[in-house]
Symmetry: C2
Subunit: 464 residues, 2 copies
């Protein structure tokens, strides 16, 4: 990629435009876009003129909003119209939504009147709704048509549709009654009616449905497109699989960001400004820092009493705190990540609450026991190698080791329990489960593990 | 969903089979499968007989391997053959790969000879390769054919193909020369040659390519299917978008699991056994627990010297450890999650190394400064409310607060630097960047932050 960027740069500076035109003709829009992004901004409109109209439109869609703005400002009205005519309407709407207000009237003016009306309609749907990602460019057939008539109609109008693989069957008032694949049409007799061969059991969504739900339905039912209907069951558009994949990938990124205590942003990393990165991260860091102040108060409170336990035990208790907290945080993070992912893939529902908690608790007992035993063995080994305690000191050391190992076991139980329960509860009460991930769970478990550690120390060590 | 499960259960126990048949006829395979999963295992073969052949095959694909095994054992040879005939070959191969060896000969025997040979070929491709997810059921046209002949051929053979939306143009020796959409064919004149209307600039992958790379290419180029070629450029199959989505979702789940210190498994949560959950989690918990033992040694080493700093400062240093570690871990986790996701979406390349590190360091300075200042302000406030130190004690308190705040600033710098650098280095040397996520980064930063804290204390507090 980088080599081609250099090649293009030198071809531009040597004004070898016909070579550039031939080069671009062998390439795909998705590969041309990143190369153009690396060129001088002022060369962009010039370079665009070397692309075929179709490739130009496809490449335009792949550019960043900032670059699209430069291009729109650089285009003549005729060029802008040529690109707009080639764009699918859903892409045009996405682009217009990102443009500064001052450019929008010029863009709308360049669109033909029919597209302009449709674009204006699409702009009204709420962000992240099915309406906002659908396109009105689908093939609509009448149930009374014959297969032969339908093929004729597809031949006449198909070029402007985003997909002809699935056609939708609607009455004259646009009420959706079924769908029929182009495959089915081609395999049927020319005089059969579309209504006879259509599949009436068609999966639809509403304009106001959440885009993530719609994308997951496309994935679940292995669909290439899904019709979007309004409240009166009139078909108003379709959501195509390529847009659904983009939505799924965006939602995955959002989940990962939330799980890492970052407010999601919708731009690629390298296009995000430093101040935007900062603003998306600092609130969570601050919140979590302030929250973990609680651990300071707990430790301050107990350190006063540590002298009761004698120097060996109190040093051991202090020294084990980070290990205890990390282990608890990791164990809780495993559970919460698993449950959050299961919820977002629809593999886990709230009705599975007790099954999930049950499973996690058994895993917690198993993991906690292994970790506690390994920790105890390690502490004994450390004494053999480093400390060589004996007599009453050895007894204190062993009892303190047991106390710490028990604290690990109990911390793992609490960690796995809250790590699996909190995301499900969050979902139930309408919050995003992804915020109940490692950073939050860790802070919560820090406090719990300290209370468990000092509580156990009070119970066990004070009896020595 | 749960209500329908109950309804089906009571219909089964009342032997209302014709009602069940009518009910299933209105439903989609993706919705029938989970309901059947909740029925008694012994009823499964019976319930399958109520589905139409096509729905039965589609539902079969959606069931878990364990349920598929029950069904295959329960099917007569004729029933098994009927389901196999309806399956696409790539799905058949996926199912066979999950079955115990003893069932495989019976399944292969039920397939027709041609399918059996193709299945045997597909079974040879390595796991997670393009070859293992492709299907050989695509439409292949000759460049010499006319559009009319091609339409005739599609009508004759299209029913068995996984997609007819894109047809592939190959010479007699199967060398791929281009692709042509059904849309393009329908919109062309009947006497045009396929070779003339085909797009020769076709994006392909190799049988041995990684399935994730292939799935991302389908998404990047907005393709519905991608041809898979062997070393001699012969087309051997296609990867379709529905399988690509499944691969993308699986890989996303794997990334999230690795980022939460879990060895990935490929089964849905509720179908995973407790012992499998345990085995996928315990190695990382153990490894990280043992690694964080290092923090115990550091604290033990320094607590001996804490008395130099006086009681106020030493208590403050001990108490702030969890807060310091959590804040560092969260900051590092933010950077690593962002970079890991950027790498896996292809938004960040290794060549962006210095740009990424530069950005992260600026964000680190900004975040570190804010967190250090807020922490200092908070500590002053705590003194006003809780401790009321004055005179030399107040000086010690303020100097210790400054020490801790500086440790936060430096920890954030190290955290963001290593959180962004390590995933990129891991990728460069061929490891999965996702293992360089929060749990690993946290453990590493724990050690660093302790060394920074005690180092600064030595430098600053000892001068008091």
């Amino acid at each position: 990629m980088t080599d081609l960027t250099e090649t293009v740069r030198s071809l531009v500076s040597n004004k070898r435009f016909s070579t550039l035109r031939d080069l671009f003709a062998t390439m795909n829009a998705a590969d041309i876009a990143p190369i153009l992004s690396d060129q001088k901004e002022s060369d962009l409109p010039l370079l665009f003129r070397l692309l075929s109209t179709e490739t130009a439109a496809e490449t335009f869609v792949e550019m960043s909003p900032a670059e699209q703005e430069v291009l729109i400002r650089g285009f003549s009205d005729t060029e802008l119209k040529a690109v707009l005519d080639e764009l699918f309407l859903d892409d045009a709407v996405d682009i217009i939504e990102e443009m500064p207000g001052i450019l929008v009237p010029r863009i709308l003016k360049a669109a033909d009147p029919e597209s302009r009306n449709l674009i204006n309609e699409l702009l009204k749907y709420p962000e992240d709704s099915a309406g906002s990602i659908m396109t009105p460019e689908f093939v609509s057939l009448s149930p009374q048509e014959t297969v032969e008539e339908a093929i004729g109609e597809i031949r006449r109008t198909g070029l402007d549709k985003e997909t002809i693989n699935v056609c939708y069957v609607a009455r004259a008032d646009r009420t959706l009654v079924g769908s029929v694949t182009i495959r089915r049409i081609l395999l049927s007799e020319p005089d059969q009616r579309i209504g006879e061969i259509a599949d009436t059991n068609v999966i639809t969504c509403q304009t106001t449905d959440d885009q993530e739900t719609v994308a997951q339905m496309l994935s679940k039912y292995d669909l290439i497109a899904m019709p979007v209907v309004d409240n009166e069951k009139h078909i108003v558009g379709i959501v195509t699989i390529d847009d659904a994949i983009d939505v799924l990938q965006e939602e995955n990124t959002e989940d990962i960001e939330k799980m890492a205590a970052i407010t999601p942003s919708d731009r690629p990393y390298l296009e995000t400004t430093v101040s935007s990165l900062f603003l998306h991260r600092i609130p969570w860091l601050l919140l979590l820092m302030i929250t973990s102040t609680l651990t300071e108060l707990i430790i301050s409170h107990f350190t006063d009493k540590l002298s009761f336990f004698g120097p060996i035990a109190s040093a051991m208790l202090i020294a084990c705190i980070p290990m205890l907290m990390d282990t608890g945080g990791n164990a809780g993070g495993q559970s919460s990540a698993t449950v959050i992912r299961g919820l977002s893939l629809g593999e886990i529902e709230f009705s599975d609450f007790f099954r999930v908690i049950g499973k996690e608790l058994i895993v917690a007992v198993m993991s906690g026991a292994v970790l506690a035993i390994v920790n105890f063995a390690k502490m004994i080994l450390v004494n053999v190698i480093l400390y060589h305690y004996s007599g009453p000191d050895l007894v204190t050391y062993i009892v303190a080791s047991i106390t710490i190992s028990l604290a690990i076991l109990l911390t793992i139980l609490v960690a796995k329990f809250s790590g699996s329960m909190l995301p499900m509860l969050a979902k139930k009460i309408g919050f995003d489960p992804a915020v109940m991930a490692a950073p939050f769970i860790t802070t919560m478990i820090d406090v719990t593990s300290l209370l468990l550690l000092f509580g156990l120390a009070n119970l066990i060590l004070q009896r020595l």
